[in-house]
């Protein structure tokens, strides 16, 4: 690429750069409008409405969809998040350890659990573990299993996030703490980790959103009626009523939580940006 074929002055013939830009934008608007019109014309609105927006079916989902399904989704997510955070913290510290085997073990864990589909982990916890270790019972029943499965998956991601956060704390902080007589462990706990968590709050909240969605995988553990969460609840009702409205309502319930959370994350990121400036 040379500069000779992009002259700074407009040429005499053909469109100017500004005209080209206007034309290009005009074409994009036309394509968009055409797509919307085509969809509006071809869609069978009556049928869609019948399938997805039956008010009486939607109404019969309440209040269970909130008091049972959403509540369970939140419970599963939070318990998985707590397990993942604790485990992730331990793995992150192992990853930063001066003891080689700890570093390798943490590295292997992270690579394995980041590389496997969450679904596989759920099947592993729900089916493989009881078969492999007969007689062992994961405490807490389904709740325990979900917390474990979600925790195992998220710990790998959180460990990497926490490690990055710890490494983002300036080196001088550890030096100052050590100079004051803090042991390495005390310095880590009182000085470094609190600062690291400020840095990683946005990515951790993002992880919470991801877990919130992954909690739907509990479907594959086999749950009782009382243990159903949003996805299972929606699907069950969809099949009994032979209608898709419950799926739509369940979906809206997810968005009810995830959209505000994403908003909070964006605000935190903007605030962090301002703090740097």
């Amino acid at each position: 690429m040379t500069d000779t074929d992009t002259p700074l002055q407009p040429k005499k013939k053909g469109l100017t750069r500004r005209q080209k830009r206007t034309l290009s934008r005009g074409v994009q608007y036309v394509v968009f409008a055409a797509a919307v019109i085509a969809f509006a014309v071809t869609a069978d609105w009556g049928r869609l409405r019948n399938q997805f927006a039956q008010a009486d079916i939607a109404r019969q989902m309440f209040p269970d969809v909130i008091t049972l399904a959403l509540k369970n989704t939140v419970l599963y997510t939070l318990s998985g998040f707590v397990v993942g955070l604790v485990l992730g913290m331990v793995i992150a510290l192992m990853r930063l350890s001066s003891v080689g085997p700890y570093r390798w073990l943490a590295g292997i864990y992270i690579e394995i659990f980041r590389g496997l589909p969450a679904l596989l982990i759920f099947i592993f916890v729900g089916v493989a573990v009881p078969l492999a270790f007969p007689g062992t019972e994961i405490p807490g029943g389904t709740y325990g299993k979900v917390a474990l499965a979600l925790g195992l998956v998220s710990a790998a991601y959180m460990a990497e996030t926490i490690r990055a956060g710890i490494q983002a704390v300036p080196k001088g902080q550890m030096e100052a703490a050590r100079s004051l007589g803090f042991s390495p462990a005390k310095a880590m706990i009182s000085i470094i980790v609190p600062q690291a968590f400020r840095i990683i709050l946005p990515p951790l909240t993002n992880e919470l959103v991801l877990l919130f969605k992954d909690s739907s995988l509990v479907l594959f553990l086999g749950v009782t009626l009382e243990e159903r969460e949003l996805s299972k609840f929606g699907r069950d009702l969809a099949s009994t009523t032979a209608n898709s409205t419950p799926i739509l309502v369940a979906g809206l319930c997810y968005l009810l939580v995830t959209i505000p959370l994403s908003f909070v994350v964006r605000r935190m990121e903007n605030k962090a940006q301002e703090a740097i400036r």
Binding site: P170, E175, S179, G181
Partner: protein, 261 residues
Amino acid sequence: MSRPEIEVRGLHKSFGDNEVLRGIDLEIRQGEVVCVIGPSGSGKSTLLRCVNLLEEPTKGQVFVGGTEVTDPDVDIDAVRRRIGMVFQQFNLFPHLSVTENLTLPQRRVLGRDKATAARIAAENLARVGLAEKADAYPSSLSGGQQQRVAIARALAMGPEVMLFDEPTSALDPELVGDVLAVMRMLAREGMTMMVVTHEMTFAREVADRVVFMDGGVIVEDGSPEQVIGAPSHERTRHFLSRLLDPAMAQVEEETSDQVGK
């Protein structure tokens, strides 16, 4: 007091192939204020950091208050409690208020109770003239104020020795004076101080001894009048002339290798 407060014997320090300290011997008596000067890269900060073992010496011994810091079996955390350290970049804890910066180390490291720690924190903030900033956060303070808080934080631990690593180098020129005033006060109170600095006026006025380092060795060691006033080595003269009148410096190649020829 016959025993030196800080004693450095045959100290060597290498970073990979780069030998930064090439055999340092230095004694600092109790209550003495020693300023270490020298061109950048001369190893003066590394020497200071070896005294409280922030850098591990490659060879040689360091004693502080009679305890061998370089002994592999020493309780380094216990030794460091007796050594206050002030950094060029202040290194205050940004997530804690000024008071908490002073109380947290006392409570976690010395196990002082809340009331005692708060009282000692308030005393030391008053000493550096920042009592009214007790509840502020470090980010809202000027560089000079932050550095004075950092000094107060070190003092709150009740150190016997204070190390200063270019404490005014990161400050705007008009803020340097406040920090130097606090250091002068400490010197007058009899604190043993080792100060790496470029502030020649301070060194001349406050120091009992000035040590000039270049190329990882101590070139000159004596009273301020001797080392700054009438240096006996060409390297010291060259460094001082460049420092005191930077505008007069000539364009040179490989300055540090050619000086003294």
